[in-house]
């Protein structure tokens, strides 16, 4: 008798109570931290406790650091919120990077070209409109082709990233300061024209508030609105959607325009709100990280707060590690990778049940 079936039996679970699934995720993160600690010791010889303490210190070591951490959190969360509706629709948009960047570019264009022509409030409104429109356009193009001809959106949006980058590079040279330098520097540093106002005396508060509102909005939009339902149905089956009277093409385009516009808004917040400049790397890969944030949170805006916090703290801590221990900064990418792998892998144990196979045969 051959006995070649695997030792484990895997079966799909019924839905787990939320506390169990959280416990599984918690264990995964703990395990990940242990592995990170081991890897840290092996690769660098540093005491992992110190490393983690330093990461924490890097993120929350002073009031200023905490503010910066929350600002970074807000930006990453905002971009993650932006990509979420499209993902719920199973539209694999990996173009948030470009959509945000083009928003930055539009904002910068307004700030540079209109600074002395418009009063500040109007300038900000014009920048807002431009950023939203630019982001929306970057979302619209892949969606339009997807809706009309089912053009692969993953590749399309990826290419749009590069096109946005090169456009930004082009305009950076056109607007470079000083001549030949290939960079813009702080825009309107003297006049602060087009800069978003500082609220509550805290430079970064405005961004945080905007994203907080956005989070609530997105939560309600996805779960309680008709649009949210349409998105879910289109994501499942386009034929079912048209059967239900949902205009599929319109929903795809509308959702991506929304995604893109929110990305554009994040671009505005970056360029007019915090950074006041335009560089090709201003988004810094957050468009890609956002995909992971959104997915790990199962597209739930509230949980996304925590997933983005995790990644932001790791990233912020990394620069602290590298200056404290003289470690190469890429080390944080390795740690981030390890933690992500564990979280990604832990989903399996939430969806499936693994049991040891009883020795199979013979009862009767």
């Amino acid at each position: 008798m051959n006995k070649k079936q695997s030792l484990f039996h895997i079966a799909k679970r019924d839905t787990l109570p939320w506390y169990k699934s959280f416990a599984i995720r918690g264990c995964a993160i703990l395990l990940a931290l242990v592995v990170c600690a081991v890897v840290t010791m092996l690769l660098t010889g540093e005491n992992p406790v110190n490393i983690f303490a330093t990461i924490f210190k890097g993120a929350f070591g002073s009031a200023r650091k905490s503010w910066v951490t929350f600002q970074n959190l807000a930006v990453l969360l905002g971009i993650s919120l932006a990509v979420t509706p499209a993902f719920k629709m199973r539209f694999w948009n990996i173009g948030a990077e470009g959509q945000v960047l083009i928003g930055c570019l539009a904002t910068a264009a307004c700030m540079i070209c209109l600074a002395d022509k418009l009063p500040n409030a109007v300038l900000i409104l014009v920048s807002l409109a431009a950023a939203l429109a630019a982001g929306a356009l970057w979302g619209f193009l892949p969606a339009f082709f997807k809706a009309k001809w089912n053009t692969n959106e993953t590749l399309f949006t990826l290419m749009m990233n590069y096109i946005a980058t090169q456009l930004a590079a082009f305009f950076i040279i056109v607007w470079e300061v000083p001549k030949g330098a290939g960079k813009i520097g702080i825009i309107n540093q003297g006049t602060e024209a087009g800069w978003l106002p500082v609220v509550g005396g805290q430079k970064y508060l405005l961004v945080i508030l905007v994203v907080a509102v956005l989070t609530v909005f997105m939560y309600i939009y996805l779960n309680y609105s008709k649009h949210g339902y349409e998105i879910a149905v289109v994501g499942e089956s386009q034929r079912t959607a048209s059967y239900a009277g949902i205009k599929v093409e319109r929903v795809i385009v509308r959702t991506m325009v929304l995604s893109g516009a929110v990305c554009g808004l994040m671009g505005l917040l970056l360029t007019a709100g915090t950074d006041h400049t335009l560089t090709t790397t201003i988004v810094g890969g957050r468009g890609f990280t956002a995909v992971m944030v959104s997915w790990m949170a199962k597209f739930n805006p509230i949980i996304m707060i925590f997933t983005s916090l995790l990644l932001v703290v790791l990233g912020r801590g990394a620069s602290e590690i590298s200056s404290t221990f003289g470690l190469n900064q890429s080390f944080s990418d390795i740690l981030t990778g390890i933690i992500l792998f564990f979280i990604i892998g832990s989903e399996f144990f939430i969806t499936y049940q693994v049991s040891l196979r009883k020795s199979g045969k013979k009862e009767a």
Binding site: K12, L43, I94, T289, I344, F348
Partner: protein
């Protein structure tokens, strides 16, 4: 001045080879239904592992006593092992644990680029050289050795014979992969797995095995692209981030060539050409325009993407179960 094709073409080929490795690897992977967005990371890992291997060999043995077979063999084996591990990691997560492929891939890219730059950076520190790069000139000399009579054959030699062996290996692998997919039984089975894993499973094909094998072999091939880049193209000099975004271009090529490795041979060279064309185009000191020319490969990819989707040919579509994980007891 005219457009100097004989000098441009070999440069385009050299740009194209890493892309060809990447796309061949990714095509094999995608044919099994795995969309591996971790290829950019894997190519970094392939590169750095080769560098690490070569580094320790060069450290251990004085240049004069180095053995050609070992000088090529050690980095290659290290590179293959490194990317194999990455492939295994991807499979463990997406095939065994059925994790979302897009997310796993993106995480692998973060991780792989991190590994490359971390170890690259650490080795650079170890060497303590004045300019921060690891120069494996001796190893590189073995890798980039071109055919001895290439120089004597004028433009013909320059265009066709002037490359290191990894360049020819890339083309060979692409053609082999193409034959494998089209004309062999495992190739047929692999395609079936990518089209409909449950159908393949019901036909008695070991879906898990095929997914693992295709993905791991694909990763190893892609990793060679990284190796080629440092050892041949970059003359044995590892610099952090120098490999850039080529991994993403390789993924773009997969769709560009509608999943055909043999088409990828020419398409990679075309892309390689686009990648550096801006340096050959008359822009002079107008650097802004140069930035626009750099868009070329991406715009062309978009154009092809749109044209292919307009044609709506069934055979031009991605493997039907690309990106989906397979669970036999799933309804």
């Amino acid at each position: 001045m005219f457009f100097d094709f004989a000098s441009f073409l070999p440069r385009a080929v050299m740009q194209g080879i890493p892309l060809l490795y990447g796309s061949t690897g990714e095509i094999l992977t995608e044919k099994s239904g795995n969309l591996n967005l971790g290829i950019p990371g894997i190519m970094y890992v392939g590169g750095i592992c080769g560098v690490v291997g070569a580094f320790f060999y060069e450290q251990a043995v004085p240049a004069a006593e180095m053995n050609g077979i070992l000088a090529i063999g050690i980095p290659m084996v290290c590179s293959l092992l490194g990317s194999l591990l990455m492939g295994l990691l991807y499979c463990l997560l997406t095939v065994t644990l059925r994790a979302n492929q897009n997310v796993t891939g993106l995480a692998m890219t973060t991780f792989g680029v991190g590994i490359g730059n971390f170890f690259g950076g650490s080795l650079i520190k170890l060497t303590g050289s004045e300019v921060p790069s690891i120069a494996l000139s001796t190893t590189s000399a073995y890798f980039s050795k071109s055919l001895p009579f290439a120089a004597k054959c004028g433009w013909f030699g320059q265009i066709f014979l002037s490359y290191g062996f990894l360049a020819y290996l890339a083309i060979l692998l692409a053609l082999l992969a193409s034959y494998f997919l089209k004309h062999t039984r495992p190739g047929l089975h692999l395609r079936a797995v990518g089209e409909s894993a449950s159908t393949a499973d019901a036909a008695g094909i070991n879906v898990t095995k095929y997914k693992y094998l295709a993905t791991c072999i694909g990763s190893m091939i892609a990793g060679l692209g990284g190796l080629y880049y440092v050892m041949d193209y970059a003359s044995g000099v590892w610099s952090n981030n120098a490999f850039g975004d080529r991994g993403w271009l390789a993924i773009a090529l997969v769709i560009f060539t509608i999943w055909r490795p043999n088409v990828s041979v020419l398409a990679s060279i075309l892309f390689g050409g686009f990648y550096i064309l801006y340096l050959y185009i008359p822009t002079g000191t107008n650097l802004a325009i140069k930035e626009l020319y750099k868009m070329l490969p991406y715009v062309v990819t978009l154009a092809v993407l749109i044209i292919v989707s307009l044609r709506k040919k069934r055979e031009d579509q991605p493997p039907a179960s690309l990106g989906l994980s397979f669970f036999r007891e799933e309804r």
